[in-house]
């Protein structure tokens, strides 16, 4: 995929970061507002697709590291599973952090309120974990599919030379 014009690349350089911030906002506020790990992760993963379209595949492949993405994806899934397993003394997926006062442990007032960010226990933790997993996973899919297309194109060019 060839890089697009200077105008497209400049707009991408400015506005791609707003998409990342918006996706991170959706992930972090998953327990307060609509959205969560899956939705916000998909928004953040659009960043890689944006870079691929605007800057072309060669520069993108120089920027991303597949091993790092793979590690982040596995870490996200393991945190999610671990947060579920930690409450096993009561039940699987028991919310052991809620209302304990520590991390994500605040008590929310009953009825409608403006929202407490440090609340909801493992729900916020799992949102972050799933967000990490979805970001890394969808980015990996984009990068590897592009690599696969390039492999096919290279083979076709080789067969033309023969």
């Amino acid at each position: 995929m060839n890089p697009l014009s200077l105008i497209v690349r400049t707009v991408c350089n400015v506005f791609a970061w707003f998409m990342v911030i918006f996706g991170a906002y959706i992930i972090v506020h998953g327990h307060l507002s609509p959205g969560g790990g899956f939705q916000g992760g998909a928004v953040v993963a659009t960043f890689i697709a944006f870079l691929l379209v605007a800057h072309g595949g060669k520069r993108l492949l120089g920027w991303v590291k597949e091993g790092l993405f793979s590690a982040v994806e596995s870490t996200g899934l393991l945190i999610f599973l671990g947060a579920g397993l930690f409450g096993i003394s009561t039940t699987f997926f028991y919310n052991f952090l809620a209302k304990k006062g520590g991390l994500f442990g605040s008590v929310v007032p009953l009825g409608s309120n403006t929202g407490v960010l440090n609340s909801s226990g493992t729900i916020a933790l799992m949102n972050l974990a799933v967000g990490l997993e979805v970001v890394a996973g969808l980015s990996l899919i984009i990068v590897y599919m592009f690599k696969g297309i390039r492999l096919e194109l290279d083979r076709e060019e080789e067969s033309h030379d023969r």
């Binding site: 307060l32 507002s33 999610f80 909801s120 729900i123 996973g137 690599k147 492999l151």
Partner: protein, 92 residues
């Protein structure tokens, strides 16, 4: 070719009839038939799990095992895509 078209039209008419028949029995919006479980979640999510977003409390807490399955599905999808498109996977 022409006979099949009549069959398709007949099938469409039967489906439309079934849909409109089902629409006669639909309950009004906002009045579920069995609201016991909905009320349980709506009343207890804030005091039990200290969370404002009841939908998230169901997805990640009360039905967390289901979300674990979703995350596993995504992981499997990524794994299969990487296995399919990885370098050197093509036979020469």
């Amino acid at each position: 070719m022409r006979g099949w078209r009549i069959f398709y039209l007949l099938g469409l008419m039967v489906m439309c009839g079934l849909f409109f028949g089902a629409l006669q029995d639909i309950h009004p919006f906002g009045e579920p038939v069995e609201p016991a479980m909905d009320d349980y979640f709506l009343e207890r999510a804030q005091e039990e799990r200290a969370v404002n977003n009841v939908v998230t409390s169901i997805v990640f807490d009360y039905r967390g095992f289901d979300t674990l399955g979703e995350a596993a599905v995504l992981f499997t999808a990524v794994t299969s895509v990487v296995a399919l498109f990885r370098k050197g996977g093509h036979e020469r």
